[in-house]
C-alpha cells in the first residue's frame, strides 16, 4: 500500500517535467498601476512578436512566449514602451496542465548548461575591510589623544604615544570602544590585532551583505530565477538563466561602486589627497570623506532645470544629519563627489580607482535629500543611480569566473543527454528481457518505476537541479540499477539448482542477495556523498543524480520487484521452472 502511494506520488511529481517549461515575461508595476494584458499583447503584435497568452497572477502580468529568442526581444521592446516604475523580468512558466500545477508539483529545475544563461563566480576581497577596520581604530584614538602616531601593519594596529598619560587614555578608549581587539601593551606602545574568530564573523557579515546587495542588483536587472549563493569562504556564485548577453549583467555585478562626498581644498596639505576628474585634472580633497555611500538609501536619475542629467539622492537620517552639519559650515565652498570603483589587475590584486565626477559649490544647507549634477549623459546618470540604489559595497568584489552557455547549445545538450538516456534505457530493457525472460520483465518494470521515481524525486526536492553531468549520472544509474535485480536473480537461479521450489527460491534469493546489494550500493554512496560535499557545479549535479539513483534503485529493485514477484509467483511450488 505504502509502495503504491509512493509510486503514484512520484509519477505525479515527474509528470510536469514531461510537459516542460515555456519562456515568459513577468511584468510588475511598483506603483500598483494596472498593466493591461490586451494592450501588451497588441503592442507585441505590432513588433511581430506573438504572445501565446497573457494573464494576471498575484499582482503581476504573465506573458507566455514562443521561445527564448522572442522572450529577449519582447523584453527589450516592452522595456522601452512601459513607464519607468514597471519592471519586466525574464521567467519560465510550467507548461503542465493546470490541475497538476495546482497540486503543487512543478517541473525539474534545469541547470544553466541545459537552459542557457550566464554564470559568474565572484570573490569578495576582505583585505580592504580589515584595513578599514584598523584605520577606524587609529582615527578614533588620534581624534582624542593629541600626541599619538598610528599605523596599520599587516592588518594590525600599531600605536605609539608620547606621554604615559596619553597612553593610559588611549588604552581605556580602546578597551571601551573596541573590545573585540586583542591588545598587547608595552612601554607607551599599543599593538592591536583581531582574533581569527572575530575575522570570521566579519567575513561572514561582509559576504552576507554582498549577497544581499547582489540580490537587489539582480532584481534591478529583471531576472526572477537567478540563483545567488555563497560558495566557500568568500565567494559568491551567481547564475542567471535566460540571460544571453553577459556584458550588461557584468557591468552591474562586477562593479563595486561607491560614492563619497569630500570637501575640496585649494592647496595640498598633510590632510589632503589628490583625485583626478574625468578630464585628468587633479583636484585636492580631504583625506576623510564627509559622508560615505553607505548612508545612501535611494538614488534616482532625472533631468535638471538646465536639461542636463542629474542624480537625486536620499540619505538615511544619520547621513542627513552629517550632511546638514557639514553644509551649514561650508556654504559657498566647493564639495567634490567622488566615484570609486574596484577592479582586479593582472596579478589578481584588487585596486581602487577613484574619479571626481563633479565639484559643485554648496548653495545652501543640504538635508537628507539633494541632487548631484554633472554626471554625464542621461544613460550614465541612470547607471550611476542604479549602482547607488543597489547599495554601496564595503568590500570590493571581482569576477573570477564567467561562463556563458548559449540557449541553442543548452537545448542541444538536453537533446543529446536524453537521446543517450533513451538509447541506454532501450538497450538495457531489451537485453534484460532477452536474458532473464519472465523475471526480466519484472526487472524492466522495476527499472521504469525507478526512473520515474528518480525524476519525481529530483522535481520534488527543493534545490535539486538537473545538469548535463546529472543526466550522465542518470544514464549510469540505468546501467547499475539492473545490478540489484541481477544479483537477486542469480541467487534465485542458484537456489533453484539446489532443488528448491520456485517460491522458496525467490524468498531465499532475495534474502541472501541483500548483503551484497547493500555493500555494492553503499560504496558507491560513499563516493556520491563525498562528491556532493566537496565538489561544486558539474560534479555536484552528477553526485546528486548518482546518489538519488542509488536510493531509488535499491527501493525499486528490492521492494517493488519483490512485490510483483510475490504477487505472481508467490505460491508457485514448481521445481523445474527455467529462469
Amino acid at each position: 500500500m505504502v509502495l503504491i502511494v509512493t509510486i503514484v506520488v512520484m509519477i505525479l511529481s515527474a509528470l510536469p517535467s514531461w510537459f516542460g517549461e515555456k519562456a515568459s515575461l513577468h511584468i510588475t508595476n511598483r506603483s500598483s498601476q494596472h498593466v493591461d494584458a490586451t494592450q501588451v499583447v497588441q503592442y507585441l503584435d505590432t513588433h511581430n512578436i506573438e504572445a501565446q497568452s497573457a494573464y494576471q497572477k498575484d499582482h503581476r502580468l504573465v506573458v507566455i512566449l514562443e521561445d527564448a529568442q522572442q522572450q529577449a526581444e519582447a523584453k527589450s521592446v516592452l522595456n522601452d514602451a512601459l513607464s519607468d516604475g514597471t519592471t519586466v523580468a525574464l521567467a519560465m512558466e510550467s507548461a503542465a496542465p493546470k490541475w497538476l500545477t495546482n497540486m503543487g508539483f512543478s517541473p525539474i529545475q534545469l541547470g544553466l548548461d541545459l537552459r542557457g544563461g550566464v554564470q559568474f563566480l565572484l570573490e569578495v576581497d576582505m583585505a580592504p575591510v580589515y584595513h578599514a577596520q584598523a584605520q577606524s581604530v587609529i582615527d578614533e584614538v588620534t581624534g582624542e589623544v593629541r600626541f599619538a602616531r598610528g599605523k596599520v601593519e599587516n592588518d594590525n594596529v600599531d600605536l605609539v604615544f608620547r606621554t604615559e598619560e596619553d597612553y593610559q587614555t588611549a588604552y581605556s578608549i580602546i578597551r571601551e570602544r573596541f573590545p573585540q581587539w586583542q591588545v598587547h601593551a608595552s612601554d607607551k606602545r599599543l599593538t592591536l590585532n583581531q582574533s581569527e574568530d572575530e575575522r570570521r564573523t566579519l567575513r561572514n557579515l561582509t559576504v552576507q551583505q554582498n549577497l544581499q546587495i547582489m540580490r537587489s542588483r539582480i532584481e534591478e536587472l529583471g531576472i526572477t530565477e537567478a540563483s545567488i549563493q555563497r560558495q566557500g569562504e568568500s565567494r559568491i556564485r551567481i547564475e542567471l538563466p535566460g540571460v544571453q548577453d553577459p556584458a550588461a549583467a557584468k557591468d552591474v555585478i562586477g562593479a563595486t561602486a561607491s560614492l563619497a562626498f569630500y570637501s575640496v581644498y585649494d592647496t595640498p596639505s598633510r590632510r589632503s589627497q589628490t583625485i583626478k576628474d574625468s578630464q585628468g585634472n587633479p583636484i585636492v580633497v580631504d583625506k576623510k570623506a564627509v559622508l560615505g555611500g553607505d548612508h545612501i538609501i535611494d538614488a534616482r536619475s532625472g533631468i535638471g532645470e538646465m536639461g542636463s542629467a542629474e542624480v537625486n539622492i536620499t540619505l538615511d537620517s544619520a547621513g542627513g544629519r552629517k550632511m546638514s552639519q557639514f553644509s551649514r559650515h561650508n556654504i559657498g565652498k566647493p564639495m567634490a563627489t567622488v566615484y570609486s570603483e574596484y577592479s582586479r589587475d593582472q596579478k589578481g590584486n584588487s585596486e581602487q580607482t577613484s574619479e571626481v565626477i563633479s565639484v559643485a559649490n554648496i548653495q545652501s544647507q543640504l538635508g537628507s535629500r539633494f541632487r548631484i549634477t554633472g554626471v554625464g549623459t542621461m544613460q550614465e546618470a541612470h547607471e550611476l543611480a542604479l549602482l547607488l540604489r543597489a547599495g554601496s559595497l564595503t568590500a570590493p568584489v571581482t569576477i573570477i569566473e564567467e561562463r556563458t552557455i548559449g540557449p541553442s547549445l543548452g537545448a542541444e545538450n538536453v537533446t543529446n543527454g536524453f537521446a543517450a538516456l533513451a538509447l541506454g534505457l532501450g538497450l538495457t530493457l531489451t537485453f534484460i528481457a532477452l536474458w532473464y525472460r519472465r523475471l526480466g520483465w519484472v526487472a524492466n518494470f522495476a527499472l521504469i518505476i525507478n526512473m520515474t521515481t528518480l525524476f519525481g524525486l529530483i522535481a520534488l526536492l527543493p534545490g535539486a537541479v538537473l545538469t548535463l553531468p546529472g543526466i550522465a549520472g542518470l544514464v549510469l544509474t540505468v546501467g547499475m540499477a539492473v545490478d540489484t535485480n541481477v544479483l537477486i536473480f542469480e541467487r534465485i537461479r542458484d537456489k533453484m539448482k539446489e532443488g528448491r521450489t520456485f517460491a522458496s527460491s525467490i524468498d531465499l534469493g532475495f534474502n541472501s542477495a541483500f548483503s551484497s546489494i547493500f555493500d555494492a550500493n553503499f560504496t558507491t554512496m560513499i563516493v556520491a556523498i563525498a562528491l556532493y560535499a566537496i565538489g561544486n557545479g558539474p560534479i555536484q549535479g552528477f553526485a546528486l543524480t548518482l546518489g538519488l539513483g542509488l536510493l531509488t534503485s535499491m527501493f525499486t529493485g528490492i521492494f517493488a520487484s519483490r512485490a510483483i514477484i510475490n504477487l505472481v509467483w508467490g505460491r508457485d511450488q514448481r521445481r523445474d521452472v527455467r529462469i
Binding site: 548548461d113 563566480l121 570573490e123 566557500g232 577592479s343 589587475d345 593582472q346 589578481g348 573570477i400 569566473e401 561562463r403 556563458t404 552557455i405 548559449g406 541553442s408 547549445l409 545538450n413 543529446n416 543527454g417 543517450a420 538516456l421 538509447l423 541506454g424 534505457l425 538497450l427 538495457t428 537485453f431 548535463l468 553531468p469 550522465a472 544514464v475 549510469l476 546501467g479 547499475m480 539492473v482 545490478d483 541481477v486 544479483l487 542469480e490 542458484d494 531465499l508 541472501s512 548483503s515 551484497s516 555493500d519 555494492a520 553503499f522 560504496t523 558507491t524 554512496m525 560513499i526 563516493v527 563525498a530 566537496i534 565538489g535 561544486n536 557545479g537 558539474p538 560534479i539 552528477f542
Partner: protein, 302 residues
C-alpha cells in the same frame, strides 16, 4: 564451462601479470606525458563559436594570434563551421571582444558558449579534486577494513588503484582533455570497481567458510565462476548505457563517457584478476574465516 581449475588459476596469473604491465606503463605515461588539463584546472578562456563555412583554420588562427598577442589554440569540432578557441586570460580592458574579432574573418558569428576562469579558481579546483579523491580513498579503506579481512580488503584496494591509474594513463596517452567531469567519472569508477570486487570477495568469503578444507585457489575459481554471469550482465548493461552516452551525449560528455567505459572494462578485469589473486598471493586461507565469533552477527547463508 569446462575449464579445469589449474587452467583457470594459470589464466588468472597471466591476467594478473598483464595487469602489472599495463599498470606500470600507465604510471610511466602519466609521469612522462602528464595531462592535458582542462580549463577548470588551468584557468583561461575557452569559447565555442559557430562561423561561416568557408573560414579556414589558418585564417582564424592568424587573426586571433594577432588580436590577443599569444598562441591561440584553435580546434575544429567535427562539423565544419564550429570551432573551439582556447587562450590565456588577459585583462578586461586590453582584450578585444571575441565576437568583434571574429566578425573580421567571418560574416556570420555566433558565440555558443564561453568560459573565463581565473587562475585562483583553477588552483582551488586542483586542491578540491585532490581532496575529493583522497577522502573517497580513506572512507573506502575504512569501510573495507571493517567489512573484510585485511587480505581481501587489500586486494580490492589494489584493484581500485589499478583502475584509476589505468584511466589516468589513458588520458595521458591520448592527451584528451582532463576536466572536472572526467574527474567525476574517475571518482564514479572508484565506487563501481569496488562494487565488483566486493561481490566476488563476498562469495570467496562464503566459500572459504563453507569449505574449511578446500584449496584456496580452487575456491577462488569457483567464486569467480559463481559470480561470473552477474559480473558480465551488470558490466554489460552499464557498458551499454555508457556507450550510448559516448555515442549521443555530445562533445561535452565525451571525456566523461570515455573515462567511464575504460573504467568499467578495467574494473571488471581487475576484480577477477588483481582484486582476488592478490589476497591469495598474500596467503589467504580458509582458516582465516573459520573461528571468528565476531562475524557471526553478519549474515549466515543457508
Amino acid at each position: 564451462m569446462k575449464i579445469t581449475d589449474t587452467v583457470m588459476t594459470k589464466l588468472r596469473m597471466v591476467m594478473c601479470s598483464l595487469s602489472m604491465v599495463l599498470f606500470m606503463s600507465s604510471v610511466a605515461l602519466v609521469a612522462m606525458k602528464g595531462f592535458n588539463w582542462g580549463l577548470d584546472f588551468t584557468g583561461g578562456v575557452v569559447a565555442e563559436v559557430q562561423l561561416s563555412d568557408q573560414v579556414t583554420k589558418e585564417q582564424l588562427k592568424q587573426k586571433l594570434d594577432l588580436a590577443y598577442g599569444q598562441d591561440v589554440q584553435v580546434i575544429g569540432m567535427g562539423e565544419s563551421d564550429r570551432w573551439t578557441l582556447r587562450y590565456n586570460h588577459i585583462s578586461e580592458q586590453a582584450a578585444p571582444s571575441l565576437a568583434d574579432t571574429l566578425a573580421t574573418v567571418s560574416d556570420q558569428v555566433q558565440v555558443l558558449n564561453s568560459s573565463v576562469v581565473g587562475p585562483q579558481v583553477g588552483q582551488d579546483m586542483v586542491d578540491q579534486g585532490g581532496l575529493a579523491i583522497l577522502v573517497c580513498f580513506i572512507l573506502i579503506m575504512l569501510y573495507l577494513s571493517v567489512r573484510f579481512e585485511w587480505r581481501l580488503a587489500l586486494g580490492a584496494l589494489a584493484a581500485l588503484v589499478y583502475d584509476v591509474t589505468l584511466i589516468l594513463g589513458l588520458f595521458a596517452a591520448t592527451q584528451l582533455e582532463f576536466n572536472l567531469t572526467v574527474l567525476a567519472a574517475v571518482l564514479a569508477i572508484l565506487g563501481y570497481s569496488l562494487n565488483d570486487s566486493i561481490i566476488i570477495a563476498d562469495r570467496v568469503r562464503e566459500m572459504l567458510r563453507g569449505n574449511p578444507n578446500g584449496q584456496t585457489d580452487n575456491l577462488i575459481n569457483r567464486s569467480i565462476q559463481a559470480t561470473f554471469s552477474r559480473t558480465m550482465v551488470t558490466s554489460g548493461t552499464t557498458l551499454m548505457t555508457v556507450s550510448a552516452l559516448w555515442l549521443l551525449g555530445g562533445s561535452a560528455l565525451q571525456g566523461f563517457a570515455i573515462a567511464l567505459c575504460v573504467g568499467i572494462v578495467s574494473g571488471t578485469w581487475s576484480s577477477i584478476s588483481v582484486g582476488i589473486t592478490l589476497p591469495k598471493l598474500l596467503g589467504l586461507k580458509p582458516c582465516h574465516y573459520q573461528v571468528k565469533p565476531v562475524d557471526t552477527s553478519e549474515e549466515s547463508y543457508p
